[in-house]
């Protein structure tokens, strides 16, 4: 594969382009043209398509697209461009399996195909919810106690030593170290000290904080480095990649294509999901492709019909045509412990897993401590319950689940806070929350997902 030095060189010497021109006249226009050229059409009646030729077309469209638009570096105002051959070589030489974790918690994160019987990687946590500093340890322990979890995604503390954390200040570094220390202690209390942290240090965003607090991570952990939307990087991001490559770390290449943003509709979002795989390999140097597509109006949500289609097609494009592991954030609208949340999780996790991906289950956006590890546990159970399921069957199930929530996505129930759902001292769910969880599981198993 092309060296990272060459990528950096291209960021410094590639074709000059105005940022707005890149967004509108290159990224959006080319994507629109390519969707038409490859005749990619969304079918909202079937959110999980079974057509391998559609996945192939989306993959080829993504290859064509990325070789034309490349990645934009906002600091240099230049485009990092790659030839089709360079992209194909990066895909060909990518690893198909990554060893993560240590001791009894060591596992291989393996690339999956659609309908695969290989158990998915189940990361739990997610960097969206902000956790109070004094609950951080309990939440980490509760996440570590999820039986099917294979990795943990650290939360973001709202303060460190009582101080608000500001990017670029020493508090960012203090918070980076403290969040790793507390997460590791939580995992130790859960009896799973070797469970890998998947998102490095979510609170450490700047290059200096990543480097300065990265020593707290262990060899089994992974570093998440996420692109800026759409298809952009900064020199700071490249600095972080350079650092991780130098310490021999494993990179989770994150990206968040926005439906309704420069990607346009579902078809463009599906192509972008696949195209980000190439950027992830070449620019972010990832060993795991980590998309988290979102919606322009519903914000941090991808459980709606157009995005389920875009995700299924995008992940099938990657999983049928490459051997790169895929880990996805199922973003749902309803808050912790709400019944609607369980239907949304069932739909999105089913879509991800039967399309060849693995889920990284999240807390909730929208407020401090909106989090229930039991909801995440349910997500891991769905992921295992649909192993080996045919895409046709999954499609029929998701079609029945969608009417349970799709009309309420713009006015979802806010849900409850961690301390209302869990015993903070024991990190165990309160009885009422557990009863509701069992009731929801029973209801959802009647749709054909055997989670009970």
């Amino acid at each position: 594969m092309l060296s990272f030095h060459e990528v950096v060189k291209r960021a410094l010497t590639g074709p000059v382009c105005d940022e707005k021109e890149y967004d509108l006249k290159l990224f959006n226009r080319k994507l629109t043209e390519i969707v038409k050229e490859y005749d990619i059409k969304c079918d909202l009646e079937n959110p999980i398509p079974s057509d391998a030729s559609l996945a192939r077309d989306v993959f080829n469209a993504a290859l064509d697209f990325y070789s034309q638009v490349g990645t934009y570096c906002t600091d240099t105002g230049r485009i990092i461009k790659f030839s089709e051959e360079e992209i194909k070589e990066a895909v060909r030489t990518a690893p198909s399996s990554i060893e993560l974790g240590t001791g009894r918690d060591q596992r291989d994160f393996v690339a999956r195909n659609p309908e695969s019987k290989i158990p998915p990687w189940c990361s739990v946590g997610g960097a969206i919810p902000t956790s109070s500093e004094d609950l951080f340890l309990s939440i980490s322990q509760a996440r570590g106690q999820i039986p099917l979890a294979t990795g943990i995604c650290m939360a973001i503390p709202d303060t460190v030593y009582g101080m608000r954390i500001m990017l670029g200040t020493p508090f960012e570094i203090f918070a980076g170290v403290r969040s790793v220390v507390l997460t590791k202690e939580g995992l130790r209390r859960a009896g799973r000290p070797g469970l890998p942290i998947m998102n490095s240090i979510a609170i450490a965003v700047s290059d200096v904080a990543t480097i300065a607090s990265g020593w707290a991570l262990g060899p089994g952990d992974a570093y998440e480095i996420s692109a800026i939307g759409e298809m952009k990087v900064t020199l700071s991001l490249l600095n972080r990649v350079a650092h991780v490559l130098n310490v021999g770390g494993k990179i989770v290449a994150g990206n968040g294509p926005v439906y309704g943003g420069y990607c346009g509709g579902a078809e463009g979002t599906a192509v972008a999901i696949a195209a980000y795989t190439f950027m992830g390999q070449l620019v972010q140097r990832g060993v795991i492709h980590h998309p988290y597509p979102t919606h322009y109006k519903l914000i941090a949500v991808n459980s709606n019909r157009p995005l389920l289609w875009a995700q299924s097609v995008g992940y099938q494009a990657v999983s049928r045509n490459t051997h790169i592991p895929v880990m996805v954030n199922p973003y749902v609208a309803a808050g912790p412990s709400a019944e609607m949340r369980y239907y949304e999780i069932a739909s999105t996790v089913t879509t991800i897993v039967v399309s060849g991906g693995s889920p990284e289950l999240l807390g909730h956006r929208g407020g401090l401590d909106l989090d229930s590890p039991l909801d995440l546990q349910f997500g891991t159970e769905v992921a295992h319950a649909v192993l080996g399921m045919k895409t046709e069957d999954a499609n029929e199930i998701v079609k029945k689940l969608l009417p349970k929530y799709e009309d309420h996505l713009s006015t979802p129930p806010p849900g409850k806070k961690y301390q209302e759902l869990f015993d903070v001292k024991t990190a165990r769910p309160l009885e009422e929350h557990y009863r509701e969880y069992m009731r929801y599981k029973k209801a959802i198993s009647e749709y054909g997902i055997p989670v009970d």
Partner: protein, 222 residues
């Protein structure tokens, strides 16, 4: 519908065709049509239609931005045919002036761009400072354009405090009552807006427009 030059211009803006919009605007000036009427009626109507299409999910961000660019190009051409006093009156007739940007350290602009374009479609005079904008840059621009509202975007938890920094900077400059400050972005919430003393918070672009109308006292929602 009658295919007058003004109507053609409106259609070019709705289609987001910047070059065509500029060319038609030049023809309109040459033909001696009233540029004020074209701006106030036809361009404003075009942007309302664009806003409606966005609401109906027919249009996405790129369509909004292309239409906005076409509208700006046409307006600039049409205004070049006016005297300074008329230009000033037109600006004054806008619904209000907004300075918007992603705060210091934040490189994420898709949500902020959506808000900026929807405000523009709703008749506001929008000054988008881009990303990674410091408190002083916000204040300097707000003074320069005599802004009514300052909109602060932050996606990250670690950049949210920089929204508070802008509010603190305004307070320390003795200008906290001069501008209404609103906040938004992935990590923010109403609680956060209340905590830092912002005049409002909106969870998405559509509600950001409603919020601006509300804080300016120009909406029935107020």
């Amino acid at each position: 519908m009658e295919n007058t030059p003004s109507e053609q211009l409106k259609q070019a803006v709705i289609a987001g065709d910047e070059d065509k919009a500029k060319a038609i605007a030049t023809d309109i000036l040459r033909a001696g049509l009233d540029p004020i009427e074209v701006i106030e009626e036809h361009l404003a109507s075009a942007m309302r239609i664009v806003g409606d299409k966005f609401e109906n999910q027919e249009y996405f961000l790129a369509d909004l931005m292309s239409a906005g660019e076409a509208m700006k190009a046409a307006s600039k051409t049409l205004m070049s045919g006016m005297d300074r006093e008329t230009q000033g009156r037109l600006k004054h007739d806008k619904s209000g002036a907004i300075v918007i940007g992603a705060v210091k350290g934040d490189q994420h602009d898709i949500g902020k761009n959506l808000v900026a374009m929807l405000l523009q479609a709703n008749g506001f005079d929008v000054h988008d400072l881009g990303v990674d904008v410091g408190p002083r840059e916000f204040l300097d621009k707000a003074k320069e354009v005599d802004a009514d509202v300052i909109g602060l975007s932050a996606l990250l938890t670690t950049t949210m405090p920089y929204q508070a920094e802008v509010i603190n900077y305004l307070r320390d400059s003795g200008l906290q009552d001069r501008y209404r400050v609103i906040v938004g972005g992935g990590a923010t919430s109403q609680d956060w807006a209340d905590e830092i003393g912002a005049q409002g918070w909106a969870p998405d672009a559509t509600r950001a427009v409603q919020l601006v109308n509300k804080v300016m006292g120009t909406s029935e929602h107020a």
